[in-house]
Symmetry: C2
Subunit: 479 residues, 2 copies
């Protein structure tokens, strides 16, 4: 039979670069989000939510064109307005602050939610992903920057990432370096991109890239910047300081660059941050000055922050940010300084999973009440109601099968820890059977081998029905 | 001075129908979401998150055209794919289930997040809004429908809405009514739309609209459906049964429509639901059969649910849903029955606010540590750190002013309950001053009049610094 158009099935797929989050991942994301919120609110940060769609000019500036719009999920919407899905939160925050002139400053806010980018999708790279930002708007004090770093350290600690370090530097210092070496502002970006590779590629590779270029391990030719020998030797002096990583690095940098006003200002700001961090009891091994940090974003004006997970050396910086004192100026004549940091929720979650700092669970239900005898439904409903009233998440089996093994298999597959079973014999004797499926999982890691264990008496006890709630509370560690 | 293009400021506004959520509202939304999640998880529902953008054919079916796309936030995206922002979650759930054939069924899931609709914006009507859904997929049992109603009742109760009722009916019953009165399926929709007005407009208005039409209070002419007298009298018989609202309504409806197979099936299903709800101890005044309920959505096939807030008579149904056994069929040849319900987060929040069931707070911080003497920053930082370590959300004033009254005003404006103050005198004597700003707010509701109260000694105590944490815990009701 040829199907006509009306019967045609729609393929159950999502657009390229998009994905669904099944319960297992979504449960873990929610735990990550709640823990992060707890830390941010402990420091007085407040939740803000902004519109997902913004006017194109808010995201791209007043001089965008149709091609720029295509670099975002942008389109002409209702009322013929050029609009686009946000690709980050900072611009929306600047717009919000400019549009709310009576906002009490300093304004500490956090925001989490999806952002959208038309990047080429790849493994772990999606076009829709969740971002978590926090910022302080309305103060130029380095106390704010120190607080941002302290909150980053606290958050990573609370999430269970023990072996990590927040590294920070200052854009002003690096701008001073460019002036020192006689590099024009137009070329400075390329130079900083190369210096940024110091940690990963090493001193020699960086020096070659500043000069004639080099050939990497896979034989690819990496072109050089062809700086003069004098420029390279001035930059090398700085690189060697940076690599020394001594506690007195700022003194050394000051000797080298302190005569330039801009880098001197940057050094002073870094000193202040370090002092505030000491007062905040942030251990110096958790927050380190690293003068090679640059950060890609163009709008940073002062301190910048990055994170290294020492147990995941190939992971880039997951949690980073900086001070951006001019961004509100896109929307307002008021000059409003701001600083903040953000992480990608999915990348942070992947790190937590890799570090075994989070346990993946497929279910939030703690008990499945099986329903093998449909004439006893009234009893099953009463049992599941009592369990819920005791504060335990419980699910009643509502599927069409009476087969107890199929019901236990369902509980096992979605990771419910405990199943409750009662048939006529139990009901008449005032008893009830509790199966601890976790024991079955311990006995046999392979799902295919677990059918026998699900039936095994070894993982079950039969108790008096009146004792059920106490027994469940005990084995589920409820207070 | 004429500004050139480069200096032009971007207006700090959002597209029509969009909005930001300032902390006051976002804090309340998060409380609402967390409470709802608690109830849903108590019943075993699991979180799922789906892509925000879907292929146009997933949302609109395979035969959509460019105009349909404009009714959504739809556009041609990367790879020239027709895509659109989701306008609800049920289609995405159906797509997810069809695309994951190994999913354990029954599948209980909840989802919350934004949906987008190109409706005409108006007061309280936005183009981006948050929706909260929960559904059971994979069972045709009326136990599932009864559970949906029970969860709706539990959720409303847990959110603090005491005076409300979930009303339910069955599409099959109303289809039987159409057959009984000899109304063609094409006209049935219009007839049900009129019958749906029974509660609000009353019997006479409905009968006139089924016949010649009527003139409403404001003088507008409402056209009639011009049914025959015989049809109207058959429908009137049903309306009078519906209005009687007796406990035996189903017996009466059975007498009238029970000879028709489709309505008979509907009546049997309603009887089963009522029986399950009794077993679940859902009080009958919280969940009532109301045979006039129709629900607008085309895809419902069986039981349908609505909510009435008795203290907000002009509010429509905020929390509603129904059974939709054919929707997965858009994406798959497997027939997978499903049922569920949803509410709009913003409309629910507005109801909670109107019913005074939620308290709006502008801040989650409980203490502001003021910083009047910048040379004592080390002490302030230590104090705020200790307060946080005690589990209290605390903010350090990082603004540029040293003026203590300005700092207190800031705390007052954003609703921080308590401020901590220390100057040289206090530090030297080992003392600290705590101002309970809530007392100031009680003394003077008007913000303008509060300046004096902020300074008043009446709302402050000076205690030993070592007693600070205990004192804060006490006045903030911490355990």
């Amino acid at each position: 039979m040829v199907k006509n158009g009306k019967d045609r099935k729609v393929a159950p797929r999502v657009p390229k670069g998009f994905r669904d989050y099944p319960p297992e991942e979504e449960i873990a994301r929610q735990i990550l989000i709640e823990k992060t919120r707890t830390v941010f609110e402990r420091y007085g940060y407040l939740p803000l939510q902004t519109a997902s769609l913004e006017f194109a000019e808010a995201l791209l500036g007043p001089h965008y064109n149709a091609d720029n719009l295509k670099e975002l999920f942008g389109f002409t919407g209702p009322e013929d307005a050029d609009i686009a899905l946000r690709y980050e939160f900072t611009l929306s925050l600047a717009r919000y602050v400019a549009g709310n002139p009576h906002l009490s400053l300093p304004f500490r806010r956090y925001q989490y939610g999806n952002v959208w980018r038309v990047d080429k999708p790849g493994p772990g790279r999606f076009r829709e992903f969740m971002q978590f930002d926090f910022d302080i708007v309305g103060t130029a004090s380095m106390l704010a920057d120190a607080e941002i770093i302290a909150v980053m350290v606290s958050t990573l600690d609370y999430l269970g990432i023990k072996n990590c370090v927040v590294r920070y530097s200052n854009r002003k210092l690096i701008n001073g370096l460019a002036a020192f070496a006689g590099i024009s502002p137009e070329r400075a970006r390329d130079v900083f991109r190369v210096i940024d590779k110091l940690e990963k590629q090493g001193r020699e590779a960086v020096i070659l890239e500043l000069g004639p270029g080099r050939t990497d391990r896979s034989g690819d030719k990496i072109p050089g910047l062809h700086l003069t020998d004098r420029q390279i030797s001035m930059l090398t002096e700085f690189l060697d300081l940076a690599l020394s990583k001594g506690d007195d690095i700022l003194t050394d940098v000051e000797k080298l660059l302190g005569h330039l006003e801009v880098s001197n200002e940057g050094i002073k700001e870094l000193c202040q941050i370090r002092e505030f961090l000491d007062q905040m009891n942030v251990p110096s091994e958790k927050a380190k000055i690293d003068v090679t940090i640059v950060r890609g974003l163009g709008y940073y004006t002062g301190p910048v922050y990055e994170t290294t997970f020492l147990d995941l050396p190939d992971y880039g910086s997951v949690f980073s940010g900086g001070r951006y004192d001019n961004l509100v100026g896109r929307f307002s004549n008021r000059s409003i300084p701001a600083t903040g940091s953000s992480f990608g929720v999915d990348r942070m979650l992947a790190a937590l999973i890799a570090l075994k700092a989070i346990e993946l669970k497929e279910s939030t239900a703690e008990v499945l009440v099986t329903t093998m005898d449909k004439t006893r439904m009234k009893d099953y409903i009463e049992i599941v109601g009592n369990i819920r009233d005791a504060g335990i998440n419980a699910e009643l089996f509502v599927g069409d099968t009476k087969n107890i093994n199929k019901q236990l298999k369902y509980a096992d597959r979605i990771g419910i820890p405990v199943a409750v079973i009662a048939g006529s014999d139990e009901f008449e004797g005032g008893m009830i059977t509790v199966k601890d499926l976790r024991l079955g999982r311990e006995k046999s890691k392979e799902v295919a081998d677990r059918d026998e264990w699900l039936k095994a008496e070894e993982i079950q006890v039969t108790i008096k029905r009146v004792d059920l709630l106490d027994y469940l509370a005990k084995i589920l560690n409820k207070d």
